[in-house]
């Protein structure tokens, strides 16, 4: 579904992503784990079109999307829940969700998806008219995921969904990710919480200082000595 081939991304003279190639198949959950500064978020932002590659190619559903604008990429079916959630804090929960559907024009479909998202996140329904800034961290993350789902993505990019959340909320968010997959949405998740991410991932990659150093199924990596040592605390 998504093929990334040998991409290089720079911030000015500094190389953040070095010859990264990866693949995501339809219906999978793919995790990318790595520590701070490994380039995880850079990779996500590149896939969304917010950053440009210097070389390499990104293909989605057999179409080259390397140089497309972010809104064109959303239209093709890739949407992102960005790092740090980036919800619109001065707008209501309802408005936040509507912005997620900004690339769509089918009023009826938007209504149905809104209902669907609110069924999945009942707490958002309770707070529908509230300013999104008044939500708790967990609710904000749910809103960010719900907002990304409003564009009817084929591929959902999740950037550090567990960041700053209490352990029980982290578990809840990962349950939601599994549910989303069950509904046929392919998920690419980037995480520092390697344990949780590998636990639900069909396949995973390990990113270190801009390069992919390991790959395998979630279970393989969860039990690999190298990963245990570096990311799971021995």
């Amino acid at each position: 579904m998504l093929q990334v081939k040998d991409i290089n991304v720079y911030y000015g003279a500094i190389q953040a992503i070095n010859n990264v190639s990866l693949e995501v198949e339809k219906g999978e959950i793919v995790a990318i784990i790595g520590s701070n500064g490994a380039g995880k978020s850079t990779l996500m932002r590149t896939l969304s079109g917010l950053l440009r590659t210097r070389s390499g190619a990104i293909r989605f559903l057999d179409e080259d999307i390397t140089d497309l604008e972010p809104d064109a990429i959303v239209r093709r079916g890739i949407s992102q829940s960005p790092e740090g959630r980036k919800i619109f804090t001065n707008m209501s929960v309802h408005e936040n969700l509507l912005i997620g559907a900004t690339t769509r024009t089918d009023a009826q479909g938007i209504k149905e998806d809104m209902e669907h998202v609110l069924e999945r996140f009942p707490r958002l329904r309770e707070r529908l008219k509230q300013n999104a800034g008044t939500l708790s961290g967990g609710e904000q993350q749910m809103l960010a995921i719900g907002r990304a789902l409003m564009s009817q993505p084929k591929l959902l990019l999740l950037d550090e969904p567990s960041m700053g959340l209490a352990p029980n909320l982290v578990a809840e968010i990962f349950d939601i990710i599994t549910d989303v997959k069950a509904e046929g949405v392919t998920v690419l998740v980037v995480e520092q919480n390697a344990h949780k991410a590998l636990g639900i991932a069909d396949r995973a990659y390990v990113l270190e200082t801009g390069s992919l150093v390991l790959q395998g199924t979630g279970q393989e990596l969860l039990h690999s000595d190298k990963v245990r040592e570096a990311y799971l605390g021995g």
Binding site: R45, D71, P82, F88, M91, L98, I99, G100
Partner: protein
């Protein structure tokens, strides 16, 4: 059905009110009629700048430039193409006026597009400097172009445009309000909130920013064209930086992003100084004393408000003491001022007094309610009905 009834009803109402205002203006003196027109123009200017500044969050402070483009477009066309005989006797045929307004909308929209382009790369203060610079450059170029009247200005035919001025104001208000009701309007707000996140959601940030600039400046340009026909004479002094700042003040004072706030602040800031124009000259020491008293009073209120935030009472003995100090301090300053030779027995003419009050109001607002009168909120008939039902 109800939707269209409301829509058609409000358009009819706006047209009727505009003609009503026009009739009032026709029945009153030339000065009052002119003020009624200018008030409407300022409402349009404030609401259209609010679209760029408040709703889309692009800090533009050169709004007078677009006003000027529209005004000069109309003046140039009218002075070149219309018979000289119609000058100064309200004789310009209305279709002519409307055609000139249409062309002014196009030219100022193009100017807005050109200024909107750098806004794609600039943010905050930097964009403010570019817009300010554009306004000044434009004004100075016109001042030095004899074909555009140079520093003297252009005489243009006049017309009675008060109803059209107010129709434009209502159109501008309606356009902004309806924009905010749509998904498209939400994307404008989202750009103000967070550009990167809106981009990631699929909002075309480039298009939103440029659209805000084009729309906002087109409205300002239309206002400029109507100004030309209302005044019959324009020159560059009507479009100085001061004008830009007054429009900006209206937006900020009303609450950035609030359309209602912009309208009310525009009317208030425009009319209050006009009332003060006829006030008698005030003794300087009394003015200074009042200012000192008000400053102390505002300081006390500010401190008491901070106390209240911590859960304590607003009115404590300390607050009363502050009020007392404010009163006594004001009196002392006014007495002391009379002992200083430089300040004694002077008066402030009313024309300058209004600027003093104007600035004082701004400072007080920024201290007591920095988010503006309305903050981000709106106030409309709908919300009154809703509250009445609840």
């Amino acid at each position: 059905m109800k939707f269209w009834a409301i829509r058609v009803g409000s358009i009819l109402l706006a047209v009727l009110v505009s003609y009503g205002i026009g009739m009032v203006a026709q029945g009153s003196s030339g000065t009052v009629s002119r003020l009624i027109a200018l008030a409407g123009l300022y409402v349009t200017l404030a609401v259209s700048l609010n679209l760029i500044n408040g709703i889309t969050g692009q800090f533009s402070i050169g709004h007078a430039a677009f006003y000027q483009v529209g005004s000069y477009t109309a003046a140039f066309l009218a002075s070149q193409l219309l018979a000289r005989g119609t000058i100064n006797n309200l004789g310009t045929p209305i279709p002519w006026v409307l055609a000139a307004v249409g062309i002014a909308i196009v030219t100022s929209g193009i100017a807005g597009f050109l200024i909107g382009l750098p806004s794609l790369r600039l943010r905050g203060d930097y964009l403010a400097i570019v817009t300010l610079g554009f306004g000044e450059i434009l004004r100075i170029i016109i001042q030095n172009t004899p074909q555009l009247g140079g520093s003297y200005g252009i005489n243009s035919p006049k017309a009675f445009v008060v109803p059209y001025v107010w129709m434009l104001a209502f159109l501008c208000i309606g356009a902004c309000r309806n924009l905010l009701q749509t998904a498209h309007g939400l994307s404008f707000l989202s750009v103000r909130e967070d550009e990167v996140a809106s981009g990631a959601m699929g909002v075309n940030v480039t298009r939103v920013k440029v659209a805000a600039f084009v729309l906002g400046s087109a409205f300002a340009g239309a206002a400029g064209a109507l100004l030309t026909f209302n005044e019959g004479f324009i020159n560059v002094n009507s479009f100085t930086m001061d004008v830009s700042f007054i429009i900006l003040t209206m937006v900020v004072l009303g609450g950035t992003g609030s359309i209602t706030g912009s309208i009310i602040a525009a009317l208030a800031l425009f009319t209050l100084p006009e009332f003060l124009r006829d006030a008698p000259p005030m003794p300087l020491n009394a003015v200074l004393g009042t200012l000192a008293g008000v400053a102390l009073l505002v300081g006390t209120i500010r401190l008491a408000l901070d106390q209240k935030k911590l859960g304590r009472d607003f009115l404590t003995p300390k607050t009363y003491m502050g009020f007392g100090i404010a009163a006594v301090g004001g009196v002392i300053v006014s007495i002391l001022a009379n002992f200083l030779p430089a300040l004694a027995n002077r008066t402030i003419p009313s024309a300058e007094l209004r600027m003093v009050i104007f600035s004082a109001v701004l400072v007080i607002m920024m201290l007591l309610r920095p988010q503006g009168i309305f903050g981000h909120r709106e106030f409309g008939l709908g919300s009154i009905f809703k509250r009445a039902q609840a």
